[in-house]
Amino acid sequence: MTDKRKAFVAIAALVATVGTAQVSAAPKPKLDLKPATLRFSWWGGDSRHQATLAAIDAFMKRYPQIKIEGEYSGYEGYEAKLTTQIASVTCPDIMQVTAARVKEIQAQSKAPVFVDFSAYPKLIDLSGFDKSFLGQWGTLNKQVIGLPTGLNSYNFVFNKKLCDAAGISISKQWTYEDLVVEGSKVNKAFPGEYFFSMSTDQTAHLLHNYMRQYAGDQLAKDDYTIGVSKDIIAKAFAYYRRLLDEKVLEPLERSSLYEDASKNPKWIAGKQGMALAWASTVGLLKNDNVQLVAATFPIEPKAKGTGTVINPTQSFTVYAKSKNIEAAVAFLDFLYNDEEAVRILNTQRSVPPVEKARKILADNRLLDPLVQGMVDMSLKKSDVPLTVKIENPEVRKVYFDIIEQVGYGKLKPDAAADQLTVRLSALLSDLKKSEAAK
């Protein structure tokens, strides 16, 4: 069993035994913090903003000498803003950062960008985090620079109402063939309607999952090589065409504008049977026209791996050049370990990564059963994490370009596999050279 695989088995054990740990609910003694004004940036939807602002208010009540200004927005443009802030040395004191990018950002800079949390043992208790998970996602050169905000999984979420109406069976674990056979029932029962729709990003996830199951490896590996053969890539693209040609998947001409199902009028009206969703944002899919039931991605009969993704939802970091590092670290300790903050934040960033927090929510029945169910079922089938390279923006762009061309019928699967292999090889080679030069 690889080290990474061990990490997830350990987390699964932790989550499963959450009921046995004894947790003290007594509040931590107040710290002697100097007056400070902190800037805290994060992205999310309205419910996350409200919960986070409420948690900030609770901290400021406890420490009136600390003022925290929230700088929050939707995800669109957040990364670009963060890039600009890092380049111009104007970062907020506390930043929510995409988990896969924390180590990459730090590695690109000779000077520290993020604070090492392990240097502040009196201000923040890191013992509740799983060491392997923290090591995998937040530790670089023995420094803990990013703290996962939650355990997040990517799942299928069925709309049971429509599935029942179309005669679709969702009780068993599906294979990819089941997705085609069962999914095509919607268009047969309700002409003009489709089982589900996907953005290009979601299509990329689905096809990568498919490839991983056949290849036992990932498309872009961290050693700058391609881990999937051309034949398997072509097979994945051929499967994608099947989903479109057999009217399981909504055509791109109709669905390409919607980043996810929650914005698609068809889903909102309850006319779709399934959506892909992260556990942290599955709440956006809820409405009166749907009845949500979660499942893992399909698993092929002779799969070499499940391809099931468990990530940190994001990571919290503290800017190394902040003038208020102690106050910032203390605030994050409050968010992770204080009962009041845990109750306020709930599962706004999916299942909490700290054992104590999970116990508090479980004991008080505050964990959204849908969210917990998604993470639990994915943990049981989790695969190694996605590589850093597959999340690289330039790699994603090449991959997305090819997917779009296949989706619009401009490229046949075999030609698409050829193009993807050639372009990705060239790009990974360039990335290797430029990162070596730094």
Partner: protein, 310 residues
């Protein structure tokens, strides 16, 4: 020395002092602008030029690359040529349409009717709203498959069109957003129309000229300076378009709306290749300089000034 000479010398000294004070006052008034120009325009301009010869990214010190960025752009970046082609198409579609529409509305607003002031305000409103993110999002909703435009077409029994999801229509649809903001061009045309002497129209009417004849033989030639100004300004704006492509379609579908501004943004702020993005911006600058110079050169053949000047 004669008293007159003494007065003249004293006057000269007072005059020189007064001139010096006026010059100093003028320079002091210029200082805020000068500081702004130096800090927010000249410094970024020079920095960007310098970075374009390096591998500058978000963090870390840049290394000198010479002309490597420019070489890569022209020789191995297929997306550069795609974005350039799409941008030229966008300019060719949006600029003439915008100017034609602006002129048409200006001519309507040049009529002497009751409440013309209110009409002028109403027609200028889209330009005040601008090409903001909010308006772009609204445009996306209007032209989505289930949007208001398709619903209106449905009332006429026309099947829905995938305005933004089809590579065939997406560029035209976002060009319409630019055309919709015709207000500033309209104002310039309106000012020009007001200056056309009425006697010319009267004389033409007496000679039996038709409306079309009066438009092509009098109106259009007389407003060519305004047309020239609007053409130059709108072309430069169109080449720099970014918001609509980013918010509405993010360059898709199939890169049919992959404008140059979006390519530049991606390289700089998504891939963190600031040096490469700087090189792209200077190439755009060179293209705009060339096109503007061409327009100026050609204007001597089709722009007419009342006083015969250029």
């Amino acid at each position: 020395m004669a008293p007159l000479e003494i007065m003249t010398l004293a006057d000269n000294r007072r005059n020189r002092g007064s001139i010096a004070r006026r010059e100093l006052a003028g320079l002091l008034y210029l200082i805020p602008w000068a500081i702004g120009f130096l800090v927010f325009q000249l410094y970024p301009l020079v920095s960007s030029m310098a970075y374009s010869f390096t591998n500058f990214s978000v963090s870390g010190r840049p290394s000198f690359l010479g002309l490597e960025n420019y070489g890569r752009i022209f020789s191995s970046d297929a997306d550069f040529w795609i974005s350039l082609r799409v941008t030229f198409l966008y300019v060719i579609i949006s600029v003439p349409l915008k100017l034609a529409f602006a002129l048409f509305v200006a001519m309507l607003l040049n009529m002497e009717v009751k409440g013309i002031g209110a009409f002028r305000t109403i027609y200028y409103l889209p330009s005040i709203l601008g090409g903001s993110v909010a308006v772009s999002i609204l445009w996306r909703f209007l032209f989505s498959v289930d949007g208001a435009i398709n619903k209106a077409l449905g009332l006429l029994s026309i099947p829905p069109v995938s305005w933004l999801g089809s590579p065939r229509y997406a560029l035209f649809t976002i060009s319409l957003l630019s055309v919709w903001q015709f207000g500033s061009s309209m104002i310039v045309f309106l000012a020009g129309l007001k200056q056309v002497p009425n006697e010319l129209y009267e004389a033409a009417s007496i000679d039996g000229s038709s409306s079309a004849g009066r438009f092509f033989k009098i109106t259009l030639p007389m407003i060519t300076p305004m047309l020239f100004f609007n053409l130059v300004m709108q072309t430069i704006n169109a080449f720099q378009e970014f918001t609509a492509a980013f918010v509405i379609t993010n360059g898709g579908p199939m890169k049919s709306t992959y404008l140059y501004g979006l390519k530049l943004y991606q390289e700089g702020f998504q891939f963190f290749k600031m040096g490469y993005a700087s090189a792209l911006s200077w190439i755009l600058f060179a293209i705009l300089i060339a096109l503007t110079a061409l327009t100026f050169k050609s204007s001597s053949y089709w722009t007419f000034y009342e006083d015969g000047g250029r």
